[in-house]
């Protein structure tokens, strides 16, 4: 397996190289540029603009710009400086990462806590009222757009429902902490609730359905029948024997979804004013802040490649039937 892992890692290098060049070209090919507003301003002379372009290296041929970016990125780990904020891109990303990491991990934890039991129970009692309810809810969860759900949560828990003791809204409408107050863990958790629920809803729906069908397949396996025949409790059959196997494909899915922990969740971050990576990406895309954009996109590319590999390796660890040659 180490050979396999090494081979896959080496294969990833040309993929990422090609990817970085294509992304660089696409980002630069988008109309407009970081200086679009200044270009439109009649009080800014062409000479001023030319100087600034020269300073930012925007007037060089694209392959030169890419070459410089690649050398800095690959050799020095330097992601450059944001054109808009004139700050190191790495600083900006590090500021945003904790927020995104917190939100997306919380959503995954909530998702696992709800989707695994729900899927297992639904599969064990197919076509029961529980199963039907879960089916309905999960279809709703998959169909409802996140931004709509987010607004509805704000409407219910921020505008309608009040804390009976303080008269304050039950949950805040956004942000990571109460404005003007000192930050503490409780305040942070209080702010985390609504965005986590909004973000996990879609995941819960998807994963519970997935687990249900995976469980249904497993429950027809011989070893499940054997377990029942030798008098194991239904609980042991379900959770000890069936669920553990049903979770296998779920691990792959989860590994492929995990890069979101770093890339963020744009819609939820927007609705709940959550200062995460999704918004950093969005703002950079709108402002054509090339260095930030390229860095965020590349981090995602690396993560997706890495987690793909991770999922494949993990699968081998979890399932002894899988062999790497």
């Amino acid at each position: 397996m180490p050979t396999y892992a090494l081979r896959r890692t080496l294969q990833a290098i040309p993929i990422l190289l090609i990817l970085s060049a294509v992304l660089f070209a696409i980002v630069k090919a988008a109309p407009g540029g970081p200086l679009a507003a200044a270009e439109r301003n009649p009080n800014v002379t062409a000479e001023q603009l030319a100087r600034l372009r020269d300073r930012l290296g925007l007037d060089q041929p694209i392959y030169v710009q890419y070459g410089k970016w690649l050398v800095n990125f690959a050799l020095a780990g330097d992601w450059g400086e944001s054109i808009k904020f004139r700050r190191p891109v790495s600083d900006m990303i590090l500021e945003r990462l904790p927020a995104t990491f917190l939100l997306v991990s919380a959503a995954f934890v909530l998702m696992l806590a709800l989707a695994v039991p729900a899927g297992v129970i639904a599969a064990s009692r197919p076509y029961s009222w529980f199963d039907h309810t879960l089916t309905t809810l999960s279809f709703a969860g998959q169909s409802v757009p996140t931004f709509w759900l987010g607004l509805i949560l704000i409407l219910i828990f921020y505008i309608w429902l009040k804390n009976p003791f303080t008269g304050e809204p039950l949950f805040p409408a956004g942000g990571m902490g109460t404005l003007g107050a000192d930050r503490n863990l409780l305040d942070l958790l209080w702010h985390l609730v609504l965005p986590t629920v909004a973000l996990s809803a879609g995941y819960v729906a998807w994963y519970s359905r997935f687990l249900r069908s995976s469980m249904r397949d497993i429950l027809n396996e011989d070893y499940v029948r054997t377990g029942r025949a030798k008098g194991l409790s239904e609980r042991a059959v379900l959770f000890k024997h069936a669920a553990r196997n049903a979770l296998l494909p779920l691990v792959t899915m989860l590994a492929l979804d995990l890069p979101a922990v770093f890339s963020g969740a744009l819609f939820v971050e927007n609705i709940f004013s959550w200062p995460g990576m999704g918004r950093l990406f969005w703002d950079a895309a709108r402002g054509r802040d090339y260095p930030v954009l390229q860095a965020v996109v590349m981090i995602n590319a690396v993560l997706i490649v890495a987690f793909n590999l991770f999922a494949d390796l993990l699968y081998g660890l979890l399932d002894p039937r899988v062999r790497y040659d």
Binding site: P31, G32, G33, A36, A37, A38, E39, R40, P42, N43, V44, T45, A46, E47, Q48, R51, L52, R55, F85, R86, R87, E95, R96, P98, A99, F101, L102, S105, A106, V109, L151, I154, Y158, I159, A173, G174, G175, M176, L179, G180, N184, L185, L188, R244, N245, L247, L248, V251, N270, I271, F272, S273, P275, G276, R279, L280, D283, G287, L317, L318
Partner: protein
């Protein structure tokens, strides 16, 4: 190994640790601490104020400002925040469009000896005992530093740069006197230092301005100073105890909260958790109804005018200049007919009823140079048709007119024109479609072509149609600044037609008119406001008659204000926070 409930428990535990780490980690750069300097307690200073109740307000902005240095760029969002910290300079513009003294003791003028006879030397006096927000003295050395920075071509300054390059020297006989000498008279000398000053002791070398730490943590002369900036989330400011107006500001703390989603913004305003909302999306009636008394929207006409540029010269003839007349639009009667064919009332009140625009067909619609210029071509379909007939455009079989004895076009030419705008801007698209309908009713066929913003406003080397002259009509929003001479010259001088020799020219209409040229020269040849206004108004009237441009309406700026706030006013020339030192919060 398979996932085990215990593994999940470990994951949850790890998350808990992470939570703790997140709260402990500093999220953003720490605030400007007046290190070493004696700190006047804000509360003590507030006590000696004018009886303001103090308090804390939250201002909602949709995106994060990229800096608090107004010279770095023109983004409106920067100004909203910078005006509370670093945007206080020698003067400011009042809602009537007149300069008033801020840090300056008075406005230099010929009458008080502040302006030399040859108009080239301006003497500024600072108010006595001014201090920066860190308690250091604010002197004329800071004025010199500001000039040296902005005039330095390597500084990267892109906004408010007018006039700095023309200053030849600044003498500072003492800490409160600065004698500014220009190479040639500069009409906007009063606005020279109106966007804020740079403190010499707290910034850096002029050539490094792009990288100054000051840009995000400014020591300023404004009513507030930054205490905390949480990236992507909020910017907190406290009362600047050294602010020059005694007893102001009334508020103790202001927090800019970055809330991108419009519905969330409204929810927060409606609950009273925020007190000011920048640019609400809903129109005033809808907004006020939703806020149910908690807040209401205040509107003020902005500086953005929607207008059509007619190309008076032939497009696609390889000539960027005014050589050959446009086959259709080269005839003034066609342009007049098109102006007559528009029902301006329906356009503003119905088509754009909820887009926050106001009636205005006046090229000089605001500022000290605001002219009283009634519309010359009122909605009159018959007049439009008559003019087109006179010009030789007769109705064809499908209702669209064709040429028959037209001056610049061979017989049989179809009366069809292209209207070019930019994409993704609702008011613009609604207007284009409405105009196409209105013109079709008098027999003019319109093709609407919308480009990306960057193409329509591109440069000559990019092949932007307005620079190359390869278009029939353009439609977009444009504005004049408080000192319009440079923009007026760029638009209307016959020497400003863009081309290889003059890529920066903005006379897209290819309008050549010696009288206009002399009026612009007259406006630029004096500092006398009344005289200048007269020249601009005469020019405006000519534009309305000859129609190189047709003005349609003016956009308004809207701000949501909590009903607990008072003392504020909205200004065409200011950001929403331009007078925040006067705001008061009722309990």
């Amino acid at each position: 190994m398979t996932p085990h409930p215990r593994a999940l428990a470990r994951l949850a535990l790890g998350l808990g640790l992470l939570l703790a780490a997140c709260t402990a980690a500093p999220t953003a750069a720490p605030a400007t601490e007046p290190t070493g300097a004696p700190v006047v307690q804000p509360t003590a200073a507030a006590a000696e104020g004018q009886g303001g109740a103090g308090g804390q307000i939250v201002l909602i902005i949709p995106e994060e400002p990229t800096s608090l240095n107004r010279y770095l760029g023109d983004a409106a969002i920067v100004r909203q925040v910078a005006d509370t910290v670093s945007g206080t300079g020698l003067t400011y513009v009042d809602p009537a469009g007149q300069y008033q003294a801020a840090l300056a003791a008075e406005l230099p003028s010929a009458a008080n000896g502040g302006l030399s006879e040859d108009l080239k030397t301006v003497t500024w006096h600072l108010k006595p005992d001014l201090k920066w927000s860190d308690g250091q003295p604010l002197t004329t050395a800071d004025i010199v530093h500001t000039w040296e920075t902005i005039a330095n071509p390597d500084s990267g300054a892109l906004a408010q740069t007018g006039g700095f390059a023309e200053i030849t020297s600044i003498e500072t006989p003492d800490d409160v006197t600065a004698i500014v000498t220009y190479a040639k008279p500069y009409p906007d000398y009063l606005g020279q230092f109106s966007a804020g000053l740079f403190p010499k002791h707290a910034t850096g070398a002029p050539a490094d301005m792009l990288g100054w730490e000051w840009n995000l943590k400014p020591v300023g002369a404004g009513p507030f100073r930054v205490t905390e900036w949480r990236a992507g989330e909020s910017i907190t400011l406290e009362r600047n105890p050294y602010y020059y107006e005694v007893g102001k500001p009334s508020l103790d703390q202001i927090i800019f909260s970055i809330v991108p989603d419009e519905a969330a913004q409204e929810a927060i305003m409606q609950q009273g958790d925020a007190h000011v909302q920048l640019w609400p999306g809903a129109d005033k009636a809808t907004y006020d109804a939703r806020m149910a008394g908690v807040a209401s929207q205040k509107l003020v006409p902005g500086v953005w005018n929607l207008a059509i540029d007619f190309n008076l010269s032939a497009p696609n003839d390889g000539d960027t200049g005014a050589g050959t007349p446009h086959p259709i639009l080269g005839d003034i009667r066609v342009r007049q007919a098109m102006a007559h064919a528009i029902d301006y009332d329906v356009l503003v009140d119905e088509v754009l009823g909820d887009q926050g625009v106001v009636h205005s067909t006046n090229p000089f619609a605001y500022g000290w140079y605001q002219c009283d210029l009634p519309r010359q071509q009122n909605y009159d379909v018959e007049a439009a048709k008559r003019l087109l007939e006179e010009a030789g455009w007769v109705e064809g079989p499908d209702g669209i007119r064709v040429a028959q004895g037209v001056v610049n076009a061979p017989d049989g030419t179809r009366l069809t024109l292209e209207l070019q705008g930019y994409t993704n801007y609702d008011p613009l698209q609604l207007t284009e479609e409405w105009l196409a309908e209105q013109w079709k009713a008098v027999g003019i066929e319109i093709t609407i072509v919308n480009y990306d913003f960057s193409i329509i406003f591109g440069s000559l080397s990019d092949g932007s149609p307005r620079k190359t002259g390869d278009f029939d009509m353009l439609i977009y929003d444009r504005s004049f600044t408080i000192e319009p001479q440079q923009e007026v010259s760029a638009y209307f001088l016959s020497t400003s037609i863009p081309g290889a020799d003059n890529p920066d020219g903005d006379n897209y209409f290819r309008w050549v008119n010696p009288t206009a040229d002399s009026l612009i020269a007259a406006a630029g040849g004096t500092f006398d406001q009344a005289e200048r206004k007269q020249a601009y108004c005469a020019l405006g009237e000519m534009v309305q008659t000859e129609l190189p441009q047709l003005y349609l309406y003016v956009f308004q700026d809207g701000y949501g204000f909590s009903s607990r706030l008072s003392g504020y006013s909205v200004s065409t020339w200011g950001s929403m926070t331009w007078d925040i030192q006067n705001w008061q919060l009722a309990p």
